[in-house]
Subunit: 410 residues, 2 copies
């Protein structure tokens, strides 16, 4: 496998031209779209219009005239098409953590005889934190049962209110069997809530086909919505009568401008809104979703798997004796759009690599993550990234004192 | 009072030049900054930099290099200077509704022997809705006691956990005696939570001088942070050990990048963060706050009162027999930075007025709101606005069929 071969892959890549839809800095190989997606080329022109015209000239009128008021549902409907949901099943609101809180609270409320939230130890920590906070708020009648990944199915029983899992593991990139686990939990009458933060835009998701009950997900990773972009949540149509929201703010009221003293939830998914949505961040997200809707998702998946396979092959070939090991599934179909490596000095290695223009990220205690975006990562980027990784490892460039200091965000 | 006199007021206005710091559309008199503040001139250049350079080129590195990670606390510290709080007492996060939920939940949790949230019937409805949702979530051991404005003091007793009030009434603009009511509630051992959504940027607020416990507020009204700008919350220093957050997301963890399985709240106000903040909307807010910090707030208050007094005087002089009555306190010191009028066909009148270039808003059932921003409203704007209001009323232009249809946002 040499560089020329990778360049030829790029020439044959049916998605190669999509890279031109992004603004990417010169001299940087960006393999951290799993943490913050790159900037779509249309985002800045659109935001210039939103800020200058819609806000600046339209002012308050833009809630109607520029359809801001419809944005959470409109963008939700667009995201629905990316994750196998129907229109009216997804809405954009708040953050993933806050959305998780709403849906977990409702999953417990509608099943008062069931006391457990079941999840796995390797779930994204904020999902565990949110569940812990909710349970503490509810005063001790519920518990979070945290089990190992291998024990999920055998831990299901009639006491589980909701099985809460992240579809693609943030650290290893391993994919859960969404359909199988959903069915297994539902057999015991439990609801199933999937966190799609590392799935949407990374792997095909079909919530309706898997008969998923509830889901949440983030807008700023593979979806490219911008830093801290608003999140989304999904409630299956059949559950929308039962599932309300404990965060009963005015935007979720059936008549927000009637200013009634009593809360009456809006019908359907709209009741999941709480306060006024951050329109600038939300409309930046929409640009990115519109771009995704022009891409063949199966093609994107094929390319994502090929990029990951290439990365692993090159690491095996060139770095096998240098202290790194592959921490992701080697079989592409079991893996999201990232490959993780382990190295005992992972933090320093990543710092050194970033200084050499290859941006991935580090996750404690020892994981180097490399994310591949089918929309803008090239095969030659993968080749060059592994070559520089090898240079960092062979030269021990990571062993400089400046890399010992932890940055706030790592 | 004639137009020339108003123009001379503008020439003498020490804040007149601040208007140049805003982008305002031609031919529009904007009196709805109490609902969505106007666009500061620096916002678009700054957002161009944030999107193009910080996100586009800096990518994930900008969480450290562009100090995104510090934005919630940094902007919170700036807002603190506008509302009489100390650094470390305010943080920018989520929406006003969600922040209210967090603080109400904690106010109840830390006082388990007290069962009531006390509030007034004319509070902003979302504040009532949030309290209702929280109480329902907690399962019936608490109640929301909603009383008339005149009955607040006499309704205080040892069963009240928290007195929740909006400082400036959204409909009438009437200001509560923050210091007096705070002291009255604290005498009974209750906590006091103020919603500052219609106060910050409208009237001087000194939370520390009034010894306020808790507060929330919105960024997109008088503060000019942009549509749906993130909100803020305040927890007095002395309470920060006790007050946690039921929305225990990773950004409020003491070590968010340690990825520990157990939630451990950060110290101080930082624990009030939940999920990743919407950076674009947040940094737009910062531009507006930076502008506010360059303005003498006492001067702004003087001008705001003069604008309101002028408006009332002109309405009295020219519209007294046309079906409108003043619904705000006539005494400027009792009034926020708005004047409300009542008209039985208020919705239609406002629609007709907006079509004639005077933008205020309508609040059910019969309130026309006119907000004055000391930063960009001119005396001559007030004069022209009332003249057009008189035209709409005398011509009965509001009686056209197209104004009968309600828009989604009114």
């Amino acid at each position: 496998m040499n560089r020329e071969t990778c360049l030829s892959f790029d020439r044959q890549d049916p998605l190669a031209s999509v890279r031109d839809e992004f603004v990417l800095p010169e001299g940087v190989i960006y393999l951290d779209g799993n943490s913050l997606g790159a900037l779509p080329r249309q985002t800045l022109p659109r935001m210039t219009q939103v800020i200058g015209e819609e806000w600046g000239s339209g002012l308050i009128r833009s809630w109607n005239a520029a359809h801001w008021i419809e944005a959470p549902a409109r963008i939700g409907d667009k995201i629905a098409r990316l994750i196998g949901a129907q229109a009216g099943e997804v809405i954009v609101a708040d953050s993933t953590s806050v959305n998780l809180f709403k849906l977990l609270a409702e999953a417990l409320r509608v099943q008062p005889e069931r006391h457990f939230i079941l999840t796995e130890a390797s779930n994204f920590p904020t999902d565990l934190y949110v569940a812990q906070g909710l349970i503490e708020l509810l005063g001790g009648n519920h518990a979070l049962r945290v089990i190992e990944r291998a024990d999920i199915e055998r831990s299901l029983d009639g006491s589980v209110a909701v099985l809460m899992l992240t579809h693609v593991d943030y650290a290893s990139g391993e994919i859960h069997d969404m359909r199988g686990l959903t069915a297994a939990a539902q057999k015991f009458g439990a609801l199933v809530l999937w966190d799609l933060s590392h799935s949407a835009g990374a792997v095909p998701v079909d919530l309706n086909a898997a008969q998923v009950d509830l889901a949440v997900g983030c807008g700023y990773k593979y979806l490219n919505g911008g830093p801290g972009a608003p999140a989304y949540l999904f409630v299956a149509k059949g559950l929308q009568g039962a599932i309300q929201s404990p965060l009963s703010g005015w935007m979720g009221h059936t008549a927000p401008f009637a200013f009634e003293p009593e809360y009456r939830p809006a019908s359907g998914i709209t009741r999941q809104l709480a306060g006024s949505p951050p329109i600038l961040s939300m409309l930046a997200l929409e640009v990115a979703i519109d771009l995704w809707l022009r891409v063949d998702q199966q093609e994107a998946r094929r390319k994502s798997m090929a990029l990951g396979d290439l990365f692993i092959k090159l690491v095996d070939e060139t770095c096998h004796d240098l202290g790194v090991e592959v921490a992701s599934p080697r079989e592409a179909r079991l893996r999201g759009s990232q490959v993780s490596l382990r190295h005992t000095e992972g933090y320093r290695v990543m710092r050194a690599l970033i200084d050499r223009g290859v941006i991935g990220d580090f996750r404690a205690p020892d994981i180097l993550r490399f994310g591949f975006s089918a929309l803008y990562t090239r095969y030659v980027d993968v080749f060059d990234a592994v070559r520089r990784l090898r240079e960092v490892l062979t030269s021990r460039a990571w062993n400089r004192p400046e890399y010992a200091n932890r940055l706030p965000v790592t």
